[in-house]
């Protein structure tokens, strides 16, 4: 049987050589940590190894030591949220999201693709095997968490939709339901919340659609029933409660960069060198820790994702 390397694979999707050579030690670590069983066998490929490599890329762990960082407690992950649809206070989403109904739910796939359509959530999810992924989440407000997500790569959905050559970006939209989302009754933001990624970013194996965390369904305040997780970007890129994804030709409208272009760029890659006008990005407070820790370029995922930005001035394209 001939196994051919697909032509459209980007360099960022290829496992770096050192990771490939170290895969046995990763497998041993993963097994010890009990996460290997949760990963679909096919996925103990680029994505999973990339994740382990991300942790070791921080250089704080000896090569064979357990690489997993301490998880942020479930209560903190689910009670400290930025989700302005439910209010601007960090505790508001937890308090005010009780009326939100994440089911039934429809997701529309649209734009430059061969197979657009509207899917019931169940149909949208059915073809995909869910995996658990432990990612760091870094907010532009300079705090961070370590969260065990459950989800599947966005690339799977993109492959099914068969985008045409005109598709350069993917635009995402959050649901608008002022009756269930009290924050949307005011004009705090330009509703609906919108975000977007370059197509290669959306296809990156680290980019996932999450349907759960800590092994259970996503709570409303965390973006039920379906959200994006892009671990090397600031949290606001990881749009919640998605109802629409559209393949587009031009860089899409994104809520925060439209609101304050000088503060929030389209890329929003975690970068300790480029400060936000209000918050230094050089350090961050991991939720639960007292002292601040240095922020890592691309949130510690540089070896996986930096090649996508080769030649891009990250000060200009922040």
């Amino acid at each position: 049987m001939l196994i051919r390397k697909p032509d459209d694979i980007t360099s960022s999707e290829i496992t770096p050589e050192d990771v490939y050579l170290n895969r046995r030690s990763f497998m041993a670590d993963a097994a010890r940590l009990g996460i290997a069983g949760a990963l679909a066998p096919a996925l103990v490929g680029a994505a999973a190894e990339a994740e382990a490599e991300a942790a070791s890329a921080q250089g704080r762990f000896p090569a064979r030591a357990p690489r997993q960082e301490e998880l942020t407690p479930f209560e903190d992950v689910t009670q400290y949220n930025n989700f302005y649809e439910f209010g601007t206070g960090k505790g508001d989403p937890y308090r005010n999201s009780g009326d939100f109904k994440p089911r039934p739910w429809t997701i529309e796939v649209a734009g430059h693709c061969a197979k657009p359509g509207a899917y019931d959530l169940e149909d949208f999810l059915r073809p995909h095997e869910l995996e658990d992924r432990v990612y760091r989440l870094r907010c532009v407000e300079a705090w961070s968490m370590v969260i065990p997500w459950r989800g599947f790569p966005v690339s799977r959905v993109i492959d099914r939709a068969e985008p045409t050559s005109a598709a350069k970006y993917v635009a995402f939209t959050t649901v608008v339901r002022p009756t269930e989302m009290p924050g949307q009754r005011g004009r705090i933001l330009d509703w609906p919340y919108r975000e977007g990624l370059r197509l290669d970013e959306a296809r990156h194996p680290l980019t996932i659609f999450a349907t759960g965390l800590y092994g259970r369904d996503l709570p409303n305040q965390s973006g039920a029933p379906l959200r994006l997780v892009v671990p090397w970007k600031y949290g606001f890129k990881s749009i919640k409660s998605i109802v629409r994804m559209e393949f587009v030709e031009d860089m899409p409208y994104t809520t925060w960069s439209a609101m304050a272009a000088n503060e929030y760029g389209f890329y929003a890659n975690v970068n300790p060198e480029v400060d936000h006008p209000r918050w230094s990005q050089a350090r961050e407070r991991r939720i639960g820790e007292f002292r601040k820790r240095p922020t890592l370029p691309f949130n510690g995922y540089a070896s996986q994702v930096a090649p996508m930005y080769r030649g891009l001035d990250l000060r200009r394209w922040y």
Binding site: D76, Q79, Y80, T88, I188, R285
Partner: protein, 209 residues
């Protein structure tokens, strides 16, 4: 017919005002303690402390500034006795706000603190408001009032600048179009307007009617 003793009722009113000022001044600490013992301060307690102290500092600055116009409008002159206590409580919460940032948030990382003050306008403005409050707090004693005489009043007009800086600091710190900082700005604008001589005398006339 019951004879009322004007001096006695004035003393009573003065006492009531002082007690009310202390109750209001200590309320933020009581609320904080209640929250701490109850549900706790949440996932990011340092941020919660900074926000709690900062918000209450602004509330107390606004209340302090509201005393004079309210006194004009109501003719209730004893209100003025709350001014010094509330002003000092405002300074207490501004100091706690700043110290929480300095000690708990930054842990004396002077280079980062300096960078914040120099490069982030919202912090520059907040720090300036804190600095300007220091001489006001220091000169709040009877001795200083006597020594400064007329200049004491001039010096203490700095509180108007502090109020403006404080609400700008609040507004610039908030993401998106949240209503509360805008309300605070409107309140400061109204309270400063009430000090324009023509407006002030009209308030007094209304109060006498």
């Amino acid at each position: 017919m019951v004879l009322t003793d004007p001096a006695r009722s004035a003393r009573r009113a003065a006492l009531a005002v002082r007690v009310a000022a202390w109750v209001l001044g200590l309320l933020p600490l009581a609320l904080l303690g209640y929250r701490w013992l109850g549900t706790g301060l949440g996932a990011n307690p340092i941020e919660a402390l900074i926000l709690h102290f900062g918000r209450w500092a602004i509330v107390l600055i606004l209340v302090t500034l509201a005393l004079t116009p309210t006194r004009r409008l109501t003719g209730f002159n004893q209100l003025i006795r709350a001014r010094r206590s509330l002003g000092l409580f405002a300074f207490l919460y501004v100091s706690l706000h700043f110290l929480t940032y300095l000690v708990l948030d930054q842990f004396f990382a002077w280079d980062y603190i300096w960078e914040d003050i120099a490069e982030r306008p919202f912090i520059t403005v907040g720090f300036l408001a804190f600095l300007l409050l220091v001489p006001l707090a220091v000169t709040s004693t009877k001795g200083w009032i006597r020594r400064l005489g007329r200049n004491w009043v001039r010096l203490h007009r700095l509180v108007y600048v502090v109020a403006v800086l404080a609400v700008v600091h609040y507004y610039w710190n908030v993401r998106a179009d949240e209503p509360t900082p805008i309300l605070a700005i409107a309140a400061v604008a109204l309270l400063l307007l009430a000090r324009v001589p023509r407006v002030a005398s009209r308030l007094s006339r209304l109060g006498r009617q």
